[in-house]
């Protein structure tokens, strides 16, 4: 095979692969972020917010303030994204809520906290209050 043609074919193949990767990347990255947020929720949040995300976690029974029901579209719509982010990172007291919601900023990365906010919007199936 002509070496120049061979190189061209390789370049073409690489370019095609790159296009396919680019096309697939956003969907795949979003799926990865969703999966990571879901597992983080199952690890850190379920203990209070519940396996059904309804605020009925195993620890909620004896709590003086009930954990937020993340499946409540109405209640969640009223909370802006930056408040959700602030509450997760710095804890309930930072947003004038209960101390029983701890600060997760030393456990989750800023990226993971952003993903969690997006995941909460998915759970509540609600947008942001304007």
């Amino acid at each position: 095979m002509n070496p120049i043609r061979s190189v061209s074919m390789h370049v073409l193949a690489a370019a095609s692969a790159a296009c396919l990767t680019l096309a697939a990347a956003p969907a795949s990255a979003a799926a990865d972020q969703h999966a990571r947020a879901q597992r983080n929720y199952d690890t850190y949040c379920v203990q209070c917010h519940g396996i059904e995300r309804n605020g009925k976690g195993i620890n909620s029974k004896n709590m003086s303030v009930q954990p937020r029901d993340h499946s409540d579209a109405k209640g969640m719509t009223d909370i802006p994204d930056d408040e959700l982010l602030h509450a997760i990172q710095d804890g309930g007291l930072a947003v004038n809520k209960s101390v029983l919601m701890p600060a997760w900023g030393n456990v989750l990365s800023p990226e993971e906290i952003k993903e969690m906010v997006a995941y909460l919007r998915h759970v509540c199936n609600c947008g942001i209050s304007q």
Binding site: R39, T43, Q47, C48, I51, I58, N59, M63, A103
Partner: protein, 230 residues
């Protein structure tokens, strides 16, 4: 003759001591490692937490009190009300989530001799230098009501940890037997930075002040198993 007897006795003692330790190690390696890491995991983090079935033991000697360990291994009682990892052992109910007891296995039970040997071996597994600092807890007494107020209302620890049987949070280890179970300096160090022991653990690092750490450790070591402090 006398000298030979003494040498033989010394050799015998050494063999017995080393045989005992070896026995403890072999018991731990045959009975414990399916659920517990006795060496620091290569990849500590959330994956490890989801894979493991019990807490890591590679720093057991800096964590537990030997007498408690020896006794508990003969008569184990659940320390984490919802097991480990707690999410795997929950079920939704009409009220709050509940522990799905069908998913939890009883802990292995050892004979008195095996428990003694295993406890001795586990106590030889120390935390890396600097993780638990001897004398970090100053041993100050804490007013029970003040301690409880910090533990429950001001720092929120009671949300996940129970201080009396059948009450309080269930996703964290119960603390009503913590005084018998744990070394005070370990309690101090773990409360200060749980992530340093168990990367990714579902207990947050709260940047607690030194007085808070002393107060909370003091409160926990004063718990007597009945929900009140002595």
């Amino acid at each position: 003759m006398k000298r030979a007897t003494v040498i033989a006795a010394v050799v015998g003692l050494a063999a017995s001591a080393s045989g005992h330790a070896q026995n403890g190690q072999s018991i731990v390696e045959s009975q414990c490692i399916a659920c517990h890491a006795v060496a620091k995991p290569d990849k500590a983090g959330i994956d490890h937490l989801w894979e493991r079935k019990g807490p890591d033991l590679h720093y057991a000697g800096s964590k537990f009190n030997q007498a408690w360990l020896e006794s508990w291994l003969q008569n184990p009682a659940r320390i984490r009300p919802a097991g480990e990892l707690y999410t795997k052992h929950l079920k939704a109910t009409d009220a709050e989530d509940a522990v799905d007891e069908t998913t939890l296995q009883p802990h292995v039970k050892l004979s008195a001799a095996d428990a003694k040997a295993a406890a001795e071996y586990l106590m030889s597994l120390k935390a890396p230098d600097g993780l638990v600092q001897a004398g970090a807890f100053k041993g100050g007494k804490v007013s029970p009501s003040m301690g409880a107020m910090f533990f429950n209302k001001l720092r929120g620890c009671g949300a996940c940890h129970s201080t009396a049987s059948g009450t309080g949070g269930a996703s964290g280890a119960e603390l009503h037997t913590a005084a018998e179970r744990l070394q005070p300096d370990y309690i101090y160090a773990y409360v200060k930075d749980p992530q340093a022991f168990d990367p990714g653990i579902w207990m947050p690092t709260l940047n607690l002040s030194e007085p808070d750490l002393q107060r909370l450790t003091g409160y926990i070591v004063q718990l007597n198993g009945k929900g009140a402090t002595p």
